[in-house]
């Protein structure tokens, strides 16, 4: 905008005023609605499922069934049907696993962190974010199984007294991984569910048939008494506090899967914070992508407004800067150290076989950060959609580079390898993407996508106040 044109000051002001007030007008629009209208606006799109919806579901189910076939094929014939090989023991499976764990991070980040900091703009997007966490984790949780050579023996990793007289090795990062992911999945699911109870009660009061039965069951008899609200609030606050260290530990542990080996480039202490930053970055970007799509498909324009995307865009940008920082912090040390093996790996990544992937990663992760500094781009949903998608392409590439790039090059050049995924891996990866979308789509049709009670609470707690020529929102957060 034209801050740098002091001469034009007066003429610009009304324009800015009108533009700014547009956001407030959007807000006012909601403020003028009655609770019943809000309920209806949220519930209406849930109940209406047109042919488009069913076609989408059918396609997704088809992809999932194909992916399941591919998985069965791989289990039956052996892992060799996938492109993983000696020495690239881990391939797309593990890369996608990290990707999903990463995606899952934004949900908690938005919901818990912003709840603690009482950021008001979180309200309409928390549920979408939490659902994203839960479903992304569900998909991530599939990969340890997919990736097992003998998946039918997966329970050997569980600590229970058994006739094998074997106890799992808790020194193995995979055990930490399993426990941490399970914890995070439980935590995020319960967190999602707890905040959902009042809205389920609302849905119960406005539905009939199977939906009524469903909502009634899961509303657990919620009436909205003061005591219930009070306890819910306390529980959510406690949850927010507990889940943050869990979310930090989960991705750290995923990073330690790599960092505890003595593989060059993996064996690094920056890997854990780097993974976390990347996870937040990709997760926030994915959240923005999803919100743009859901907003359109479920006509939630009133709830998911430009101010939210603006704020989210800023967060994505900040996370992106953080990612760049951590990447560089790791890179410069490796580069300066000039260890021959790492030098070779870096060379291979930047100028060698992996260069296309590397430059895709850098472009897709750095460019959006620059673009997102502009308010106009942040609030332009098409741009936002494109940029956040790009970020996730970049972050996925980064996961592939970390896993594959560092496995196909190691200390002895004789043992280097190359990796090309086969249809099996691609189908299975596609299956989890389709599975995520399907779960999310179904979720959004079954459960109020927007946390109605939180919006109403927010509406209750802010008012507009006139300061000079501006209408300024003021919020009351007295707990």
């Amino acid at each position: 905008m034209s801050d740098h044109e002091p001469m034009a000051g007066d003429s610009v002001l009304p324009e800015r005023q009108s533009e700014l007030s547009q956001e407030y007008r959007e807000r006012l629009l909601l403020a003028q609605r009655t609770d019943a209208e809000i309920n209806a606006a949220v519930l209406q799109p849930m109940m209406e499922t047109g042919p488009k919806f069913w076609i989408t579901v059918a396609i997704l189910v088809a992809i999932i069934l194909w992916g399941l076939y591919a998985w069965g094929y791989m289990i039956y014939w052996g892992m060799g049907t996938a492109g993983i090989n000696n020495p690239v023991y881990w391939g797309l499976f593990i890369a996608t696993f990290i990707f999903w764990v990463g995606i899952s991070h934004a949900g908690t980040m938005i919901s818990a962190v912003l709840r603690i900091f009482k950021a008001d703009w979180r309200r309409p997007i928390t549920r979408g974010a939490e659902a994203m966490t839960a479903f992304a984790l569900l998909m991530a949780g599939l990969y340890p199984f997919i990736h097992l050579g003998r998946v039918w023996k997966f329970y050997w990793m569980l600590p229970y007294p058994n006739n094998r007289f074997m106890w799992p090795n808790f020194q193995s990062p995979l055990m930490w991984d399993m426990v941490a992911i399970f914890t995070y999945l439980i935590g995020s699911s319960l967190y999602l569910y707890l905040a959902l109870i009042p809205d389920l009660a609302m849905a119960r009061d406005h539905s009939v048939g199977w939906r009524y039965k469903l909502y009634r069951t899961f509303a657990l008899g919620w009436r909205g008494t003061e005591g219930e609200w009070h306890k819910l609030h306390r529980a959510l606050n406690i949850f927010s506090v507990i889940i943050i260290p869990v979310f930090l530990s989960v991705h750290s542990i995923v990073a330690w899967d790599f960092a505890v080996t003595i593989q060059p480039r993996w064996h690094s202490s920056i890997l854990a914070p780097y993974f976390i930053m990347g996870a937040v970055y990709s997760g926030l970007a994915a959240l923005a992508t999803i919100l743009v799509i859901v907003r359109k498909s479920m006509r939630l324009q009133e709830f998911l407004r430009r101010e939210h995307f603006d704020a989210l865009g800023k967060l994505v940008m900040v996370a992106g800067l953080g990612w760049i920082y951590f990447w560089f912090a790791g890179f410069i040390v490796e580069w300066y150290g000039n260890d021959p093996v790492i030098r070779e790996l870096i060379h291979d990544e930047i100028t060698g076989k992996l260069a296309p992937l590397f430059w895709l990663q850098m472009t897709a992760n750095v460019l959006p950060v620059i673009f997102l500094t502009f308010h106009k781009i942040r609030t332009n949903l098409k741009w936002l959609l494109g940029l956040t998608l790009l970020i996730n392409v970049g972050m996925y590439t980064e996961r592939v580079l970390i896993v594959v790039g560092n496995l196909q090059r190691n200390y002895l050049p004789f043992d280097w390898g190359t990796y090309k995924p086969t249809w099996v891996e691609i189908s299975i990866v596609a299956m989890t993407f389709a599975g995520f979308i399907l779960l999310y789509t179904l979720f959004s049709r079954i459960v109020p996508y927007v946390p109605v009670w939180e919006i109403k609470e927010g509406r209750l707690r802010y008012s507009l106040r006139r300061i000079g020529r501006l209408l300024v929102p003021t919020a009351a957060e007295i707990d």
Binding site: T34, D35, A36, N39, P159, F165, M166, W167, N169, F170, Q171, S172, M175, W176, V179, A180, T183, I186, G187, L190, L194, P198, A201, M202, D205, H206, R216, L220, G221, W222, R223, G224, T225, E226, G227, E228, W229, H230, K231, L232, H233, R234, A235, I238, F239, I242, I243, P245, V246, S249, I253, W453, K456, E457, R459, L460, R461, A476, I478, D479
Partner: protein, 174 residues
């Protein structure tokens, strides 16, 4: 049942509701007799009610402690119960044990928060209760359990504060 009656008033304004509650207190009612149901969480004390003390933090702490012990047990004790000679290498290390113990602590804390809050709310509870669907449409419902003799007084208080609907509530399954 015979000696008390229930009356429910639906209000659309929080201030009025707070005043209704004040008036009911003046009438000599106690907290137990008044239940306020809202579709929106009103900040505590905004309706002039006292806040009850919660056991939830203690439950969470207890849960976390159990988780800590469980984690410690799994990471440190069980390798000694299921002894395996791994060539003289230690089967337990501090950092892995720390990770496992931490995560188990967190897991137990999370689960105990959830279970604890449900416990505190007496959930799940599907038996018939006094309720009105309009609560989720933005009305504040004040449910008063009173002596039959007080019914007119309560009605008066409700009407005086712009009560939208006054009714004898029915128990309905939730």
């Amino acid at each position: 049942m015979e000696d008390t009656m229930n009356l429910m008033g639906l209000f659309h304004d929080g201030n009025e509701t707070a005043q209704v509650i004040d008036s009911l207190y003046e009438l000599g009612m106690v907290d137990r007799q008044i239940i306020v149901m809202t579709g929106v969480p009103y900040p505590e004390r905004s309706l002039g009610r006292h806040v009850e003390w919660l056991r939830l933090p203690n439950i969470v702490l207890a849960g976390a402690l159990v988780g800590f012990i469980l984690g410690l047990f799994l990471a440190v004790i069980t390798p000694h119960l299921y002894r395996l000679d791994i060539g003289g290498h230690p089967t337990v290390g501090f950092p892995p044990a720390a990770v496992i113990t931490f995560v188990f602590t967190m897991m137990a804390a999370i689960v105990s928060t959830f279970v604890g809050v449900l416990w505190e709310m007496n959930f799940p509870e599907f038996s018939p209760k006094y309720y009105d669907n309009r609560v989720t449409d933005g009305y504040l419902a004040v449910l008063v359990e009173h002596d039959p003799s007080e019914e007119s007084l309560v009605r008066k208080i409700f009407e005086a504060h712009g009560c939208d609907f006054i009714q004898r509530p029915e128990r309905r399954p939730l």
